[in-house]
Symmetry: D2
């Protein structure tokens, strides 16, 4: 919260003024496989509140490896945010994402849309086995030793959530492998502890869902998974009233970001770019032409995933390049 | 050369052993608007040689603002590399790219494929004027002050070449706004001084062309241009014999990269990813499944451009993540 | 029913044996804007039954022009088909689609994805007015006379339903502008009286919805609408037990068809083509290679729409070209 | 010529007035694998002239099965049309396309972009053998009997040319598997005897190339080939001066057509649709809005190919639907 208010970029008046923030320790018992207005709230929270909870891995297993729900991507939540109404912007600050068990699994073959179609056959006729990684949290690494994978190697942990979403607009119910304007399974490696996620509110209470933790993930998620594992998660929620947004936004210490999701890939990019233009014009002092010229020479992109029912592209502006105001 | 040989990654035997490297100061007088086998060599160089030369801006103007050739993207070259034959890999180390005049120009409206089609109209009915930037080389910045752009702002210089290419395969002649397997107008902001570009050789002598310098460019090149200006350029050439590559590769201090170019955007990504897989298997000790698993959790992508006749996506592997061998 | 059983192509045993078919005159009073398992059945019918009913136009107006429901594409139904279970194939024979009022409306500007992005601006800054057509049912034509449209002209009526769908799989709820594996807003000009539509059953009772009648429509639906109007509709339902299908199929007097829906357009085509291959192998005596060779020289395609959230492509095989068995 | 002038649609003044038309029997001895301004004219013809010639099959074999040139798609030509200048429209009336040998070959596996990527593997690991068809010209059929293809079957002959093209603009040289604004390998099953093909002129003399005859082809060309065989071809050429066109056009007895070629598929459609709009406005009495409304309810599309380096979509207007003028 402090860091948010200190931001010169996101100078907003929160709806939390005067309320005492609570901390909720929430142990989920029910999990969902759709983002939908129809699911009953699991917990009611106020803007400013902190939630300490856990997520299952993408297949439904918890920190003990016990199957607690059906995959794919069973969600913790929904969290009903008091006062949230359609047209508001839900602000979710991710305070902590930590692995809470010693293993993760991942795919081992490149996914169809990540490689040339003509070259798929040589791989897809192979065993699409999942491989198991050992998580050494103290050392901050994940280690893969599998007889079918040469050589053995380790990679640094970088825990993230594949899924952060709210109830979709127009009473749609969308399965949890899918990202969209409501957030959902964006599978963005940059959605780590320390970031602030902003989502458009479509239903009263917003109905926030989280899930699908990855101990690490490459851009594109080209094997169809990250290092899938269960997580301990903490986040705080805020609300910006009457602040419409067409796509999820993020703010980090260094960047403003918009996450567009669609097929084909270019449409995901178009959504992200168009929304970034609107954001720069609305909140950062640019004329439309000014924002266009600036973006032409300052924009960065990440490709979050090319494996989900919608692909996700992230348009990014380095905050250090924004003009002083 | 030294830095290349010091690389643990690119441990190759160059064809230069025993030859004395020359330095060529080449003043171009003829410029080309196609990549083609049919253009006569402008200069013959040996592997190991260094070339000191200049490039015009994308519209054909030189360091004095004098129109020297017709746009778009008139090319300096072609440089005939002695000993280069189809199936070899041409290695071009970019030693220097420096702006050599005080102005650059850029577009001022977002390009069609970078934004939602429904939102283009609001911009495209406006004057698509080019804007002029002041380059302050000493301060390392470009400054834009234009009555139609609000606010005025500055951005750091980061000089790059939009075009580095060779004669295409199968006797094609391709216009210089187009990138492809032969390189060309990839418009990648990461193609700066210090990088090593590797291109497949399709014709005897390779026929290297360079051009289209940008004082800076955002990812995607979403206004259709970088900061277009003339450049002083230095590079050295090497040759790896009998080393086929399907797409241009790059190596920097930190990354291995492959640049895939195509439409739609996903095909550019597929070309880059497929070639990275081949590279990791051929030169970095991975089995195919090992490279797949590694890429799934280690890959990064840049989106070079979404405005040229082919779009360009860069698949990147951080060298620090590669397993020790 | 008779015609279906007479088909040499669709030689199936229906689940209707021994039951007396009923005819239901169903006057809808409730309309839906999502395809969803969650809507209560409006009418229960048996395989073999006939339903005589009506549909509103896409904006929710009935045969008198009275607004009866909210747009877009409010649906009549859902019809619960007794005995239908996931894994079955619902067979809907469209017996009649007739306009029941004297006017229709259509868009008057080309939609974003139907034309080059660079050329949209010249059109989209114009008034996107809807135009009103006069329907002369006796003469079989629709006439457009509008001061903004030059010249005035008439086109033959060819009534069709934009929407025929069932409850989607995996408890998704999808808005009615969207087509998919469950059918929905495929906007195919060939979905006229006389065709047989086959849809995969995802929920008990299938839950059939219909709506969005067009007095006529061009391929692609490039102005974003057909001639939108209310309709009198008759259809019969049958059921093929344990007959999985991945995508909607159709059979006419002359063709077998599969309707694939997705973005990008090529994926819609891929879905339709892949499903046609499976159909030819499963029911028409082809080996997989035989079906491939045959499709290579015999396949036809229609482009149903390029304006909905998913685009729809129809893969077609002329029945006259099928080998005698 | 007569039929052309009788057309109410294509009421143009030809540049042929006053010249006597010649008939040229041209036996090709040199064949080309690129469309390029750089190839020397094989024959000079005047507007109004008729050419009687032959084409090799896609692999370079002639009517005796003798290898006469290297594949793919070796071209007969180029024919230099006297008086043709950039900005003119070359009119090629295809008078005859007839198979001249008893066999054709085709692919036997579905091509990568025609089917779902996940399903390719099951096919691509199989032998991609070519199969041989027997052509029974008297009976008008092609017969396939191959031990690997079940069942044996016959299909009606419908001879066509895969390639009709001119020298590309801007001095590009493009390989003969590729279609584009210059025509080329459009692989459209509707390009049969009796049609009139219209191509934009980019170079003096236009430089017309033809080749790649198919005894028959399905829409999409989903096995990557038609029934590839050598052909006897007759055509006449005309010229419409100062008649710019952005894409190839065709006129048949029943339809006006535009052939757009690009990747992705939607861009091919966009090019074809945009050019049809321009054509209807320029030559058929429509206002822009009038043409849009008309196309929305009257347009048809064919998908020519989804296997070449660019895909080709054909936008079609039935002439019977055009308003009387």
């Amino acid at each position: 919260m402090r860091r948010l208010l200190a931001s010169a970029v996101l100078a907003v008046v929160f709806a939390t003024a005067g309320l005492r923030a609570d901390t909720h320790r929430f142990v989920p018992t029910q999990f969902y496989n759709t983002y939908s207005f129809a699911h009953p709230p699991a917990l009611r929270v106020k803007p400013g509140d902190r939630v300490i909870t856990t997520t299952l891995d993408a297949s439904g297993a918890d920190k003990d490896g016990t199957q607690k729900a059906q995959g794919p991507n069973p969600q913790t939540g929904p969290f009903y945010v008091e006062g949230a109404e359609p047209g508001d912007l839900l602000v979710v600050r991710i305070e902590k994402i930590e692995t809470n068990r010693a293993t993760a699994y991942s795919g081992s073959l490149l996914a169809p849309y990540s490689v040339d179609p003509a070259s798929i056959a040589t791989r897809q006729d192979k065993d699409p086995k999942r491989v198991t990684w050992q998580i050494d949290k103290a050392a901050g690494i994940a280690r893969l030793e599998d007889p079918d994978v040469r050589p053995a190697f380790t990679l640094p942990l970088k825990p993230m959530l594949g899924c952060v979403g709210v109830a979709p607009a127009r009473k749609e119910a969308i399965t949890t492998p899918t990202p969209g304007a409501f957030g959902g399974n964006m599978d963005y490696a940059g959605l780590t502890a320390g970031v602030t996620v902003m989502l458009p509110v479509n239903e009263p209470g917003a109905l926030l869902f989280i899930g699908d933790g990855h101990a690490r993930q490459g851009e594109g998620e080209v094997v169809g998974t990250g290092l899938e594992t269960s997580m301990d998660v903490e986040f705080t929620v805020e609300l910006i009233k009457k602040k419409p947004a067409a796509w999820p936004r993020m703010e980090t210490a260094t960047h403003l970001m918009v996450l567009g999701s669609a097929r084909p890939l270019i449409e995901a990019l178009q959504h992200a770019t168009s929304e970034m233009l609107r954001w720069l014009v609305a909140d950062h002092g640019f004329s439309e032409r000014g924002a266009s010229v600036f973006m032409g020479q300052a924009l960065e992109y990440d490709i979050a995933n090319v494996v989900d029912p919608n692909f996700t592209v992230v348009a990014k502006v380095p905050k250090v390049l924004l003009p002083r105001r």
